[in-house]
Symmetry: D2
Subunit: 135 residues, 4 copies
Amino acid sequence: MKYVESRLRVRYKETDQMGIAHHANYLVWFEIGRTDLCRATGIPYTGIEARGYLLVVTGIGCEYRIPFRYDDEVLIRTSVAGWGSRMIKFAYDLYDGAAAERRAHGFTSHMWLDRETRKPVRADEDVARAFAAWR
Amino acid sequence: MKYVESRLRVRYKETDQMGIAHHANYLVWFEIGRTDLCRATGIPYTGIEARGYLLVVTGIGCEYRIPFRYDDEVLIRTSVAGWGSRMIKFAYDLYDGAAAERRAHGFTSHMWLDRETRKPVRADEDVARAFAAWR
Amino acid sequence: MKYVESRLRVRYKETDQMGIAHHANYLVWFEIGRTDLCRATGIPYTGIEARGYLLVVTGIGCEYRIPFRYDDEVLIRTSVAGWGSRMIKFAYDLYDGAAAERRAHGFTSHMWLDRETRKPVRADEDVARAFAAWR
Amino acid sequence: MKYVESRLRVRYKETDQMGIAHHANYLVWFEIGRTDLCRATGIPYTGIEARGYLLVVTGIGCEYRIPFRYDDEVLIRTSVAGWGSRMIKFAYDLYDGAAAERRAHGFTSHMWLDRETRKPVRADEDVARAFAAWR
């Protein structure tokens, strides 16, 4: 599976009183992976919105195996796990910085909306072509 | 299914540039529902940690149907959806303030850990009894 | 000084690994106080944006004396501390739920912007009148 | 003034419905700058906590001139603006990625606490020496 890699460090603000990164942050990290994958296709997410689309989230899931701590490096591998006429699904694997162990994995499902009407639409040809190499 | 209700209003900080509440906040709202359900059992979550447990998150899922906007009231109905010797699963339904439409629903799965060793443990008798009425 | 009171409970997500509410959340709590003060004037903040204004933040400050912990109740007292032709300043005092001790206090300064042009403007007569009782 | 540089990109989650990065995130970005400055002294912040200290926040301030948008690069320049027997103050300047314009600046004041007793203490010799070059 083809993927894009992103790296970040766990922020102090992202820890909670258990002393680990709070699980809700993983969705924010997924979004960073998604941003980087869009950039890699040649159509950055800012460009998607500029073309008049919104890529809204319709479903998410995540499984957590080993926690991350403050200042830990997180390696995200983002791939396209599904593609339909009006939807796209991304998958994410989170590793420690050395890529030695997968600590969590998850997915997000999205629908293409027209930015003005907020109705579901098909992505245009350019967008479909840009993502084609990643499906 | 027996549930506990919680209410909150969408914070400005919780919106994103789509003009809706960002999807990662739903996990934080789930946590509010979970806190309120624990309180209703008679063992508040602060009491769970005081007894030497952590209730870590092992998996989450959420489906999003209708967005919430800034200052919208959110009604959360939290229930216990699963119970095992070392785990507990909560389910959440999110409604508009008038409880007229379900806008999202999801779950979180948890493992009981010993707070010191961070190893999986069984919840003690008191805790098991407190949650029994909610299973 | 006339003020509006808001109450909230510290969310688990708002704690950090020091075991206290992270200082950045205080700005989010201030925003809740501000939302409630706007509602009390008769022009809720959603109404301010609907009239074509944005109330952007130009400066903030906060002093922290006693921390809040998970599930603590926070009492916010919000007042209008300054008013100019194109600006407004709010002040915030944060107390424990019993209002026994002030734990933090701060301010936020804002400019009225035209929502379309994003240029500074004067608030209209209705808005000025609504806030007049709070100056 | 000697400073450490950090770079980040504005996350989608960090935007709000005004279409700009929400002002509370600046405090989180400051914390990234502070983490990087500690690392540059040779005593990373994880090491400070490992030595038995907490560096709690006692005051903050920020002035906002030009907003950041989603996916904008943010350049942070962090310096030590004050040093006392039991306190330290950091200053932060936020620039666009090209360092062409300063968009915001702020400070955070901190007290050294003993991690166990949570009482104010002096930083030890090693820590004082590590920061000396940055004062």
